[in-house]
């Protein structure tokens, strides 16, 4: 069985994230890392491998579309335990929107691993920068595959996959037959930390770097200039004015707060 895990390289959310002059997210001038939410996808892929009857026959491939530095994200996945990395990097990709990103990912998935098609494509629930939560659905659409998205539990048996999905109105169990696209939430279980052994082993794992032409993607179909959406302007939110902070002393806090709510007409 072949599992592709889509991992994204994102600016560190605890750092100062901002936009470039061309209104794309600055991915070069800030510290980046493997999107935290994609670690959950790597974890679930590794668990599927570990639970398989013959784990050696399951290959977990970390797949990333992003700039040079994004290799860090692939490396982290390898350190966690993925078997192989595929990094699609091409200057033409810069500024791509979800539509174009999903195109490149779809082509990379269609290529398979060593010519063998993937049985499962696993994604995080959302990237921590764009956080659109649409790439898995778009990828499924492009590949013509079913999507079992937003899973808090993933189970496989042979070619059958079942997930638990905590939706807005119901908790559902959704099933499908491989090949398909799965995305997992942060409820699916803690992601492991790379062990020292894992970090050492990662250095020897195969890593493939692909360009758009390797994938047969026309450079004119991706990137900022052909994006199907355009950002008109970006404005930093003005800092909030410092609010009033009171210390509660024998009931004074509740009274002061009630007065505040009353002046704001909430009571």
């Amino acid at each position: 069985m072949k599992i592709a895990v889509c991992v994204k390289y994102v600016p560190d959310a605890t750092g100062d994230r901002h936009f470039e002059d061309d209104k794309t997210v600055d991915r070069v001038g800030v510290d980046g890392l493997l999107s935290e939410l994609d670690e959950y996808a790597v974890e679930q892929a590794l668990q599927i491998k570990e639970k398989a009857e013959s784990p050696d026959e399951v290959e977990v491939v970390a797949l990333c579309v992003g700039p040079e530095k994004a290799l860090d994200a692939v490396r982290k996945a390898l350190q966690m335990g993925a078997d192989k990395g595929v990094h699609v990097v091409d200057d033409a990709i810069a500024g791509s929107d979800a539509i174009a990103t999903s195109l490149v990912l779809a082509k990379a998935v269609q290529r398979g691993s060593e010519g063998t098609p993937y049985d499962l494509v696993m994604c995080g629930m959302s990237s921590t920068d764009g956080s659109m939560s649409v790439v898995p659905a778009m990828l499924a659409e492009r590949l013509g595959l079913p999507q079992l998205t937003l899973a808090s539990v993933v189970e496989t048996q042979g070619d059958q996959v079942r997930i638990k999905r905590d939706g807005d109105v119901a908790t559902e169990v959704v099933g499908g037959t491989m090949p398909l696209v799965v995305s997992v939430t942060d409820q699916s279980g803690e992601a492991r930390y790379p062990s020292f052994k894992g970090i050492m082993a990662a250095k020897k794992k195969p890593l493939e770097t692909l360009s758009l032409s390797d994938l047969g993607v026309d450079a004119g179909d991706v990137g900022l200039s052909v994006a199907w959406t355009r950002v008109e302007d970006t404005t930093a939110r003005p800092p909030r004015e410092a609010g009033e902070i009171v210390k509660d002393e024998e009931g004074s806090g509740a009274k002061a707060l009630a007065d505040f709510l009353a002046t704001k007409k909430f009571i």
Partner: protein
Amino acid sequence: MSEILVVVDHADGPDGVSVKKPTYEMLTLAARLGEPSAVFIGPKDKGAEVADAVKKYGAGKVYVVDDAPLKGYLVAPKAEALQQLVERTSQSRPVGAVLIASSAEGKEIAGRLAIKTGSGLITDAVDVEAGGDGPVTTQSVFAGNYTVRARVTHGTPIITVKPNSAAPVEASGAGEVEEVAVTISEAAKGAQIVASQPRTATGRPELTEAAIVVSGGRGTGGKFEPVEELADALGAAVGASRAAVDSGWKPHSYQIGQTGKTVSPQLYIAAGISGAIQHRAGMQTSKTIVAVNKDDEAPIFELVDFGVVGDLHTVLPALTEEVNQRKG
């Protein structure tokens, strides 16, 4: 004039179908862009009822897509149905945009629809206005630290809209019902819903739509009554931090933040919540923010309009009493 398709956001309960408030908000936004039409994907026999509701907010046409053949599968069939509707409608007049509620499901439908129709997609809009080259959206990004205005430059703009994006404005529409037959491919039926456990109703307003949200974190120590009682006194929804959800005190549907719901109410009250960046991502755009926390250095205080340094187990019940007295 172009037609703007608004996908009706509705809840199907045991007592029938109820149209949710974001539908009226989207119809209001749609009226700024063109002629609003509603698209109801649901039980066919409820079409007339839904039409009565949405025409009060300006829906000229109400396309009814019977969901009987679509039910039981995840989003793919709905995306197919919408694609067929967009194509059909475009034959008589241009479709200026498709507006869909920005729920997890709504965004996935929108994602598939965008690929199918070769259209640009904007998610999580908090405002939509008419522009010279089509609709211009406003989004709040990077945990609310930036505001971005954007537009779609290719195909039919597909836009998902967050709850509370506009005050619904009443307008009389014709509400003309048109049943639409769609064909669903076998491929779209690959993800089958095997079991479904509906959420039990809380009787409180829906988290993402509520005007007031009171939420509790680890500081509640699992005792949520003070939070809930205050919420009920204020007619508010109840939310929780991930720490409270991970501890099993509240289900995930209560979680506010990056991996939970995003709320943007008039008033947000955080009790026993430190204000981690992932939590802020879900509440930072609230109009007025209040916190009760016993640590005067909790980062949540950086955000507040009013903060009380104190124990929530004494401050909240006292506040609830004040609220009830002043109401009384």
